[in-house]
C-alpha cells in the first residue's frame, strides 16, 4: 500500500516544533482534553472511593481515600495518546505510584486486570504497571481530577494508549495469565503501545 497519495491532500495541523517528535505515528496534536467514556459517568464520591489489590497476591491490600492520601504523592509530567488519534502533549497528573500501591502485596502473577466503578476493566502486564511507569492519580494539572476524566481517581499509564488508564479505578486484580479487558474484548489491541501503533487486534 506504500506509494499511495491522497489527491490534493496537504498537511493542515502541526504540533509546535519542540513537541513534534513526541507525537506517535497516526496521532494529531490536541490542545484540549476530550472525554471518551463507554456508558454513563459513574458518580463516585471520595468518601465512598477505595482502592484494592487482590487476586494472586501474598497479601491483599485495601485503601480508603484517607489512607490513599497519606501515601507519597508524585507529580507526573507526561504526554497522553488516545487511540481515537488525538494526543495531549506536555500535561501533568498527580497521584501515587503503582509501585507504592503494591508495597507488601507480593504479587504472584505477571498480569493485572484494572477494574473500575461502573464495571470497566482493562488488562496490563505487571511490567507495564511497575518500575515507575504507572500511577493512580487524583489530580490533573494541579486541580482535583474532574469526574468526567475519572475523578476522584484514575489509573495513569501514559506510555500506553489512554484506554489503559482506567477512569474511576477501584483496584488491580493480579493474575497468573492475561485476559482481555473491556475494549480488548471489543476489537482493541491487548497491549496498546502508541509508538508501535497497536490500536486494534490485528496491529
Amino acid at each position: 500500500m506504500s506509494g499511495f497519495v491522497s489527491r490534493g491532500f496537504q498537511r493542515r495541523r502541526r504540533p509546535p516544533e519542540e513537541l513534534a517528535e513526541r507525537l506517535p505515528p497516526g496521532q494529531y496534536f490536541e490542545r484540549g482534553f476530550p472525554v471518551l467514556t463507554a456508558g454513563p459517568t459513574p458518580q463516585v464520591e471520595p468518601d465512598a472511593w477505595g482502592f484494592r489489590v487482590d487476586g494472586m497476591v501474598g497479601q491483599e491490600r485495601e485503601l480508603t481515600w484517607e489512607e490513599f492520601q497519606a501515601l507519597p504523592f508524585e507529580t507526573v509530567p507526561c504526554d497522553i495518546h488516545c487511540v481515537t488519534k488525538w494526543s495531549k502533549l506536555g500535561t501533568s497528573f498527580g497521584g501515587v505510584s503503582v509501585d507504592t500501591l503494591l508495597d507488601g502485596v507480593e504479587p504472584q502473577g505477571s498480569f493485572a486486570m484494572a477494574f473500575s466503578y461502573g464495571g470497566y476493566t482493562t488488562n496490563l502486564p505487571l511490567d507495564d504497571l511497575t518500575g515507575g511507569k504507572a500511577w493512580v492519580v487524583t489530580e490533573h494539572e494541579g486541580e482535583p481530577l474532574p469526574r468526567e476524566h475519572g475523578g476522584p481517581a484514575r489509573l495513569l499509564v501514559p506510555h500506553l494508549y489512554f484506554w489503559k488508564s482506567a477512569k474511576w479505578v477501584a483496584g488491580l486484580r493480579i493474575m497468573d495469565h492475561d485476559e482481555p479487558g473491556f475494549w480488548e474484548q471489543n476489537g482493541y489491541h491487548s497491549r496498546g503501545d502508541p509508538w508501535r501503533e497497536q490500536r486494534y487486534w490485528t496491529d
Binding site: F9, G26, Y28, P40
Partner: protein, 240 residues
C-alpha cells in the same frame, strides 16, 4: 435473529483503497460519501472505519468515522462526515474529494457500540451523533421492521437535519435553536417527556453526540429506568 447478516467479529485491520462512488450533500456542513471497497466485509451497525490521508511528502492523517449504511449494502460503506473548520481530514472530504477519488480506509472496528438485534432499542442522537444510529435504524428497517426501535434526534435548526427524507414515524425530532414554520413537535433540549413519548422505558439504549449531550441523555435514560449496563454511549472527541 436469523435474518441478521452474519458478521465475522474479528476486524480485518488491513488498509485498502476504496473509491468514492457517490457524494451527497446532507446539510450545509455535512456530506455522505458512498465508498466502494475491494475487500469489503459486512459490519455490525454502529461500527466505524479508520480513514487515512497521505500527502505527497508522506505526511499522514488518520481519523475514525462511523458507518451510516446497513451491512446489506454489500461492497460499499457510507461515511457521513461533519465539516470541522479547523480540522484536517473533514475539510479534505468536503472541499477536495470528488466522486471517483480514491481513499485509504480500514475497518470495520469496535464491537461495543453495535446493535446485534436486541430489542426494544432506543436511539438517542445529538447533531451528527445520529450517524451510527442511522446505520442501526436503516438495518432494522430492512431486516426486522416489526422490532421495537425509536430514534430521538436533537438538532439545532431545520437546515441541520441529516437524513431528513428518511426520518419517519419511528423518529422523534426536537429542535433546540430554531424550528420549522408551523412545527407542532418538540423544541428545546431532550427531556424526560420526550424520552417518555417513545414508549421505550427499558431495553438497550444507544446514545451518541457531544460529551455534554451524552451526559444529559444518559442521565435521563437512567432516571427513566434503563440499567447503566444497557446504555451504550459514543462521545465525539474533536475528530477534525
Amino acid at each position: 435473529m436469523d435474518r441478521l447478516t452474519p458478521v465475522e467479529q474479528r476486524a480485518p485491520g488491513r488498509w485498502q483503497i476504496g473509491t468514492i462512488a457517490r457524494i451527497e450533500q446532507e446539510t450545509p456542513r455535512v456530506k455522505s460519501f458512498r465508498i466502494g471497497l475491494p475487500m469489503w466485509m459486512p459490519h455490525l451497525p454502529g461500527q466505524h472505519y479508520d480513514v487515512r490521508l497521505t500527502a505527497p511528502d508522506g505526511y499522514r492523517a488518520q481519523r475514525s468515522y462511523s458507518v451510516a449504511s446497513s451491512p446489506l449494502d454489500a461492497g460499499e460503506i457510507e461515511l457521513t462526515i461533519d465539516r470541522l473548520d479547523d480540522g484536517e481530514v473533514s475539510p479534505y472530504f468536503h472541499d477536495v474529494a470528488v466522486e471517483g477519488d480514491q481513499v485509504e480506509v480500514r475497518g470495520p472496528f469496535s464491537s461495543y457500540f453495535v446493535w446485534r438485534g436486541e430489542a426494544p432499542v432506543l436511539l438517542v442522537g445529538g447533531g451528527s451523533g445520529v450517524v451510527p444510529l442511522m446505520a442501526i435504524l436503516r438495518h432494522r428497517r430492512r431486516t426486522m421492521p416489526e422490532l421495537g426501535m425509536r430514534l430521538v434526534y436533537s438538532v439545532r435548526t431545520p437546515e441541520e437535519v441529516i437524513y431528513a427524507d428518511e426520518l419517519r414515524d419511528d423518529a422523534l425530532l426536537t429542535f433546540t435553536r430554531e424550528s420549522p414554520d408551523g412545527w407542532a413537535g418538540h423544541t428545546g433540549r431532550i427531556d424526560a417527556s420526550l424520552i417518555g413519548e417513545t414508549g421505550i422505558q427499558s431495553g438497550t439504549a444507544f446514545v451518541c453526540g457531544s460529551n455534554g449531550f451524552v451526559e444529559t441523555a444518559s442521565r435521563l435514560l437512567l432516571e427513566s429506568g434503563f440499567e447503566p449496563q444497557q446504555i451504550r454511549t459514543e462521545r465525539f472527541g474533536p475528530t477534525g
